[in-house]
């Protein structure tokens, strides 16, 4: 019988944590500040909190959650539009589980479902294509959010729907690209960090070479990491070493799955079906060429073009998800955290997705009952 963690892991991880803390403290002596790194992948946010890595490094390394959770970075207006798509009786709306409870200005997809709308959780957009095939009389709309990890799968779904010549399948895509937002964080938002813990999943698609601009333009080190405690700790160790020696590089610490040029098949799929566009990020605003839209050639599958959806400007709340995403606030600095905003009644998206910084903090770092 296996246990939640393998017995050999704890010893290695503990020793590694000790080394990380030692090097971090030497870095602080040398530079005068606690070294700070930003993770830009929701799975890292969750894994760092859940495995206790963040807790054990507290006070030695400042781990800041960046814009890595696909739901959290989605602009409020897009969420409202997606919920609006579900408002019509003849539609079946399919989406990833995370999206169900994200609050729109008026309601959530979950409440739309409770009121009788046909909203379904699927694990893959391919399942939504199957649903369209099985329901030829109804429009099936897939709500697609995600980074480069998810876009190839979205593309594959459109490809499948095109092959099957489905007339009743479309996608409302609001997808994001990692590199433009990293650049924006460093230039416009001026986040104070010493390096990036680079995303494992996105890098499988993009490849290890994709981040060289961080070193060339900003002298900012980055390490691509996996998600096990040992993998994350060794990535953080490598970041610290580069900071200490002042020799920034991009390193691939997840070589078992990330190749230097990424996944060319996935990249080709993305380019065939999607084209870059200016995209609004929650709390950041519009970043030029930071998103992807379905190419005009495949407009028949673009729900934005198929349905006319009008939504007003979203109302402002005290929610600080926008600051959270840029690493400018921690969950506990938000007045709503744990009080008005909990996973049961989320105000902002960071509390909804298990990968959101607030949800991860609420589930794994909260000390009070």
């Amino acid at each position: 019988m296996k246990t939640l963690f393998e017995p050999k892991d704890p010893a290695v991880a503990k020793e590694l944590a000790r080394k990380v803390i030692g090097l971090a403290d030497r870095c602080r002596e040398k530079t005068g500040t606690v070294p700070a790194f930003m993770e830009v992948c929701g799975s890292h946010t969750m894994a760092l909190a859940k495995t206790g890595v963040k807790l054990i490094l507290q006070g030695h390394v400042n781990l800041i959650s960046g814009p890595g959770c696909p739901v959290c970075v989605t602009d409020q207006k897009q969420i409202d539009a997606m919920i609006e798509v579900a408002e019509s009786d003849d539609r079946i709306v399919c989406t990833f589980g995370d999206m169900m409870r994200v609050p729109g200005s008026k309601r959530t997809l979950m409440s739309a479902k409770t009121e009788g709308r046909d909203v379904r959780i699927v694990y893959s957009p391919i399942d939504a294509v199957k649903i369209a095939e099985e329901n030829p009389d109804r429009e099936v709309v897939f709500l697609g959010v995600g980074f480069e990890t998810t876009v190839p799968v979205l593309a594959a779904a459109i490809q499948l729907a095109a092959q099957k010549q489905l007339k009743n399948f479309s996608m409302w895509a609001t997808t994001k690209l990692v590199r433009p937002v990293l650049r924006t964080l460093l230039t416009v938002k001026k986040v104070k960090i010493n390096g990036f813990l680079l995303p494992g999943h996105v890098s499988i698609v993009l490849g290890g070479n994709a981040y060289q601009f961080l070193v060339d333009d900003f002298r900012m080190p980055g390490v691509i990491s996996g998600f096990e405690p040992v993998e994350m700790l060794s990535a953080i160790y490598k970041l610290l070493k580069m900071v200490y020696e002042d020799k920034p590089e991009i390193m691939n610490n997840y070589k078992s799955v990330v190749r230097s040029k990424g996944n060319p098949v996935a990249q080709k799929l993305m380019n065939e079906f999607f084209q870059p566009c200016d995209e609004a990020w929650r709390g950041i605003g519009v970043i030029p060429q930071s998103g992807l839209r379905i190419r005009d050639k495949y407009a028949a599958f673009d729900a934005r073009k198929k349905f006319s959806i009008e939504v007003g400007e979203p109302k402002k709340t005290l929610c600080r998800c926008g600051d959270m995403i840029c690493g400018l606030a921690s969950p506990e600095q938000c007045l709503l955290f744990g009080k008005a905003c909990t996973p049961l009644h989320p105000v902002g998206p960071c509390m909804v997705s298990t990968e959101g910084s607030c949800a991860a903090h609420y589930a794994y770092m909260r000390k009070e009952g």
Binding site: F96, V122, T150, A363
Partner: protein
């Protein structure tokens, strides 16, 4: 008989009679009692325990069980963990019009077999048929009656630092098995639900003379929610060790993919116990003689009194506080 349930089966007439005689009475073997409107139970002196539970599981048939089996194990386990010896139960069926009779027969047979296996009698029952769309196949309610143990009574007020926390086997099997059986998430696994009555195994632990101070079956909300409730209700600090919690590869893998935490997944055939340290080995030995308890393990200790909280020691040695499951667990994106 028809191949499907129609509304006429619920009208109390000839068809209802046939349904009850051919499917229910024949399975439960209680022809004598079924002629009266109520059953009479002869009880020894002492206190009785009563519990009730409704079952709406979807799908009705899943690897490792079906709604009939779970309707017995759920109620029997509630009695057993409360410190009672389960004696008998009632079964109420709400059936959707159009439901295949063959499936109903299978479910009733499974319920009868499980009850017989657990040594409890089905002493009363009821069927209602609702129109198509009014229910989802079959719902079952079971009410169980048990006799409170005179010896080896559960007394959570005696929970004290040094006590061990035990679990009868790997966590999360039912949650993942059901999710996979729904076929919505593209999960393929041979994992079976752990759904099973545990009263005989629990009997064995008590009869071995173990000082069990508290036990509960960690169903919905999983082991974390169950232990948070006990810790808070009885003002004790529980510390679990992540590296000692048994979990199957299939469950861990599915959780990694979907973003779930095994600590919050439902179990239907597990018991957690707070046991006096000197009796821990005895309790483990007793559980391990049963297939339901072959992987029984110590997963943590009671470390304090006064503050009610559940802590988890991560493999790195840091301790984080666990809370109740908050809302539904939803599969994540990537």
């Amino acid at each position: 008989m028809d191949r499907k349930i129609t509304l006429a089966y619920g009208d109390g007439g000839e068809l209802a009679h046939k349904l009850i005689q051919q499917i229910f009475v024949s399975a439960f073997g209680n022809r004598d009692a079924s002629r009266f409107d109520a059953s009479f139970l002869s009880l020894k002196s002492g206190e009785i325990a009563v519990t009730t539970d409704s079952f709406v599981v979807k799908p009705l048939f899943f690897p490792g069980g079906d709604i009939g089996k779970i309707a017995v194990s759920g109620t029997v386990n509630d009695l057993a963990v409360a410190g009672a010896v389960p004696l008998c139960l009632t079964a109420g069926f709400i059936i959707e019009e159009g439901f295949p009779l063959a499936d109903l027969r299978k479910i009733v047979r499974s319920l009868a077999d499980e009850a017989a296996g657990a040594g409890v009698e089905v002493v009363a029952g009821d069927t209602k048929v609702v129109e198509k769309g009014g229910a989802d196949g079959v719902y079952i309610n079971t009410t169980g009656v048990g006799l409170k143990r005179s010896e080896g009574a559960i007394d959570p007020s005696r929970i004290a630092p040094g006590d061990d926390i035990l679990i009868s086997g790997p966590i999360g099997d039912h949650g993942i098995a059901i999710l996979a059986a729904r076929g919505e998430l593209g999960l393929m696994t041979e994992l079976q639900s752990d759904c099973a009555p545990l009263n005989k195994m629990i009997d064995a632990v008590i009869e071995a003379g173990c000082d069990v101070k508290m036990m509960r079956d960690p169903t919905r909300g999983g082991i974390a929610t169950t232990l948070v409730e006990i810790a808070e209700d009885f003002h004790a600090t529980f510390e679990l060790s992540e590296s000692r919690l048994p979990v199957r590869d299939a469950v861990r893998g599915a959780c990694d993919i979907l973003g779930f935490d095994p600590m919050y997944l439902a179990n239907e055939g597990k018991v957690v116990m707070v046991v006096a340290h000197e009796d821990t080995q005895k309790a483990l030995n007793a559980m391990r003689t049963f297939s339901e308890g072959e992987s029984a393990a110590v997963i943590g200790q009671v470390t304090g009194k006064g503050i009610g909280q559940l802590l988890l020691e991560t493999p790195l040695g840091s301790k984080r506080r666990l809370h109740r499951l908050s809302g539904m667990m939803l599969p994540r994106i990537c």
